[in-house]
Amino acid sequence: MVAAEGMLERAAKVGRPTVVVDDLHITYRVVGPRPAGAKGDGASALSRVLSRKQAPGMREIKAIRGVTFTANHGDAIGLIGRNGSGKSTLLRAIAGLLPPEAGAVYTDCQPSLLGVNAALIQTLSGTQNVMLGGLAMGMTPTEVREKYASIVDFSGIGDFIDLPMTAYSSGMSARLRFAIAASVSHDVLLIDEALATGDAEFRRKSETRIRELRDEAGTVFLVSHGLGVIRETCNRAIWLDKGLIKMDGDVDTVLDAYEELVER
């Protein structure tokens, strides 16, 4: 009887929704190349402005076209689908970084994207970038100093840490970026293809770290083209196709169906 109650309690916590996505639409507006035949000179652009017509090159890309699902505490969800199916867009929308066109994302915390690339400055040294990246992710200077040794150690770039990042090989940069990004744990963690960096040894190390982060986090979303990685780390998978959910369920069921279609 007691055991049953304990199970119920755990089930209540594990099953608790952490992220609810409700009929989400995300649209990008881009100025693309003109369709063939349209005039591209200054005079016709001016006449468009004067007659208040939209530029012919202005296009709307509906990246997400009505996605609804609920992620629960303890879920590790793999997002799969072809290039351009909206995986990364969905991740950014859950992180609150892309304002929705319609619909909403509900959560009780701040979901965080694993990644710090945009904050770093190539001409500065690794040391300076560890500080800058850490602060950009919301750490305090004391926290960054505390974690500094373990970040440098994890990246394995040794004495290069004092050199500007322009002197790094692309593998070394990727390792330092991952080491900085993975130094913080989050309630809801969003990972975009982060596993595919560095050499075999670093990949093994980063996979272990991802698993640790997953255990610390309540909910994890993982975008990857490596189906093996998703099968290993996730319990659930969502298959996106042209901005819509094609299938949502147990990881093996969804991945088997996806593989069957891809192989065909």
């Binding site: 608790r16 929704p17 952490t18 992220v19 609810v20 996505v21 409700d22 009929d23 990008y28 507006r29 881009v30 609804t68 609920t70 950014r92 859950i94 992180a95 609150g96 970084l97 892309l98 304002p99 929705p100 909403a104 994302v105 509900y106 959560t107 009780d108 701040q110 979901p111 965080s112 994207l113 990644g115 710090v116 690339n117 945009a118 904050a119 400055i121 001409t123 500065l124 300076q128 500080m131 800058l132 602060l135 950009a136 992710m137 919301g138 305090t140 200077p141």
Partner: protein, 294 residues
């Protein structure tokens, strides 16, 4: 269903049951300000790192901070001092001109780099979560740090032209502080405008140039107000309360022995700083959720 009934989807019902709130809601002004304060270390590190990175990119590095207004001053001296002979109408024209050029350049640079604060850091905006006001604040701080050296050069030039070092020089930090607050306010406005319509950044240099020519950088505003004052009183008033010329006149009052600034200039300088900063900040804050789109 009657009008006014809010249609709720099952998903939003579920979210409400578990106390989940929609992401990307407009933060309150107070919590927004608090979150900027929490990110103050990032703001500082961002400004310093970008300053350092910029300086390491060109060979003469930080020297350009000084060379740029110096060369500008040389051009204006040639045109207005030598060709149009303003130097005969205005005493100590060189010190007068250099002060105007350096002071206006500070506001101009702060506004122009603030205008690009969101658009040139769009990758950062799309990757990490932080109050976006950190960006225009950081670019303004960066410009302020740059200006430090060029103000030192300004002081040396003014001394070199024979102006005495006096107690009034102590007003200078106050003028610069007020000018900085004013410029940040305007930078907030243009940061949001440029984020919405990128063409604003293209148009801004022209607006800044016309503003400079109206601000008495290379001539005395009083010659214009004397000329138009009788027929166009409103134009004369506008020219007189123009914030750029107020900060320039206060700087001349502090640095030059024979260009005293009227007392009301101080009230105007404070008023402009407060109005621009408060309105600019609120304007920027209201667009918080639009940054990063498109």
């Amino acid at each position: 269903m009657t009008i006014g009934d809010i249609e709720r989807s099952p998903a939003s019902e579920l979210a409400a049951q578990h106390g989940l709130t929609p992401i990307g809601r407009q933060p309150s002004l107070v919590s927004y300000t608090a979150s900027i304060w929490e990110r103050r270390h990032f703001l500082l590190a961002f400004a310093r790192s970008h300053l350092q990175a910029d300086n390491s990119e060109s060979r003469l590095g930080q020297l350009w901070q000084v060379l740029n207004p110096l060369l500008n001053a040389a051009v204006y001296y040639l045109v207005f001092g030598v060709i149009f002979e303003s130097s005969k109408k205005i005493d100590h024209f060189l010190a007068f001109l250099v002060t105007g050029v350096f002071i206006f350049a500070f506001t101009q640079r702060t506004i122009q780099s603030g205008a690009k604060a969101i658009t040139s850091n769009i990758g950062l905006v799309r990757a990490l979560h932080f109050p976006r006001a950190v960006l225009p604040l950081a670019t303004s701080l960066e410009e302020f740090l740059r200006t430090g050296t060029s103000l030192l050069v300004l002081a040396l030039i003014v001394l070199g032209t024979g102006e005495p070092l006096g107690w009034s020089w102590l007003q200078m930090p106050v003028v610069i502080a007020l000018q900085l607050v004013f410029s940040i306010g305007i930078a907030f406005v243009f940061a949001r405008l440029t984020a919405a319509v990128r063409d604003v950044a293209q148009f801004l240099p022209f607006a800044m140039r016309i503003w400079m020519y109206l601000s008495g950088v290379m001539y005395s505003v009083t010659t214009l107000t004397d000329k138009f004052g009788a027929n166009h009183e409103w134009a004369a008033t506008l020219l007189t309360i123009n914030p750029a010329s107020i900060y320039i006149e206060l700087s001349r009052g502090a640095l030059l022995a024979d260009h005293p600034a009227a007392g009301w200039y101080w009230y105007a300088a404070v008023a402009w700083a407060v109005i621009a900063f408060v309105l600019g900040f609120i304007f920027f804050w209201r667009g918080e959720n639009s940054y990063g789109r498109g």
